[in-house]
Amino acid sequence: MDGDFPNEDMFPAEEPGPPRPKFEPRFRTLRPREMSVNGAEGDVKPRKVSGIRTVLSYTGIPPSWLDKRPKLPSRNWLIFLSTVSTVAGFYIYDRQQCKKIKREYIERVKHLAEEPLGTLERPRKVTVYGAKWPGDEDYDQSLKYFRKYVKPVLVAAAVDYEMINGKRHGELARRTADEIKSRRRLAAGIDSPSPYTEALPTRLPPDEEYKQELAGGIVIVGRPAFKEFMAGLQKGWSEGLEKVDAEEDLAQELSMDGRFDEPEVPEEGIAVEATAFTPSPIVFSPLQHLNQPKPAKRSGENISSSLNTPPSTIPLLPPLLLVPFIDYIGFTQVPLMLWDFFNQRHKVRAGARAAYSLIIGETRPFDSPSAETRLFTDITTPDNEAPSSDIDFDRSAEAYYKRSTSALAGEIEKARTKFYEALPAKLATARALARGEREYTKEENERPPPSEMELRAERLKKELRWRRDLEGWEIVKPATKVAWDDRFKDILRLFVDPPSETEPTLSNDS
């Protein structure tokens, strides 16, 4: 017999006084008997086990787990998780779309790689030109764009390509001009093709070669490359055909500049002494006698003026594929870089579309600028006023150049003055050491100062670089118009999107 615990025996009978509340224990121990399903009162909630819980309750999962209700994580966790998942979602979606688009375009052109080709025949070949973007020390950016977005489709279609880069401003223009001149020389008969190339079994007659070239194409990535290409085209077809060694000419010019002359020894004391010691007033260093400026050596060739004059018509060029390209560089463009990082699918689509149009090969004539267009378009005219022609390809990209690029001329001037200020001191040490007027000091033994020859070579190198950079910048800067010649009117063609591309049935990206 188990009475209620505690039983009344524990508590004595009520004493007189204010009524005390009856002791009611707050917690009541449970006896197994009392664990009933339909218990009337009590702290135990009736457990209505339903559905899956009946099964799960036998699996050994702790019962408290079955009672848990779904609960949101805390506010801070929510913020964190939502931010991270949004960012990750953007990234993953973008890269998935990139892969999908690339795969789609590759599938479209893959069948072209299955066609047979004779053993001595060559596949179709395109030349890709890329130039240095102003402000970016990495000169490879435009070709990197080509390699990442345009090349995969070309490779899938078995179209061969040759990449030509311009590492500094103006290099591409010079290279194009030199190529054109060497071709003109070959065509005019001044140069003859080398015997080894003639003996090859794969050698084609020149017109066959030319036809194959026309079937190929030229890819130009970005507006700087376009400007340099056109400038090179103009230079190549407007200049004479003599072989000019630019370094040699510059060396001649610099040697007559007088920078390496001996400084005048100040005349003091007796005239006799003075005449004995001082060099003649027209200062020429003894070394300069050895380095007499020779007359300009033009390799002794006399090209008749009939061959030398630029022709009035230019042979047709292979069709051009103009690929728009912007290189984001600089601190203020970091938001653009971030946007670009999450939206690469647009670049993939643009690049693949360009490659596809090159592969299909539909062309249209270049929209040459009229005289009015040339007169009025430059960077200062607002776009809606100026009549646009193909010559304004990707002009909006020039708005993205860093502001510091326009200061190039000033920077080069500063570097020049600094160099020439430091030069006489170095020259004096070099000459003094060379003539044995004084011994090497300890520091000079370890790190021998540059000799006069080395100083001359250094000066030549620096001058060459500065002049070329300035020339190149003159071609590329936004204020210069794209070089144009009336002879170019009929020789240029552009690749266009084939009609199937503009159908609405194609998949669109968001």
């Binding site: 080398s194 080894y196 190339t197 090859l200 794969t202």
Partner: protein, 91 residues
Amino acid sequence: MDFSNFNAAEQAQMSKIIEKKQMQDFLKMYSNLVEKCFNSCCNDFTSKALSSKEEQCVMNCTEKFIKHSERIGARFAELNAEAMNAAQTPS
């Protein structure tokens, strides 16, 4: 490999040597090709005779290899010519 500085007797001897080497090279290539085509084409040894599929495969293999060799020869010659040009221009 410019044999123009050699006189007539040397050239005659060289051409004999070259002929002999070409024959040896051809035989080597032949055995190499047989092994290659066999390894990649013939995988079913349940029968003694070549099945038509295997025969077709061997034919294709031989043709392809010969064309492949031709193409590489052409490219190689171009490479050599370029190298000769580059070596000649300083002169």
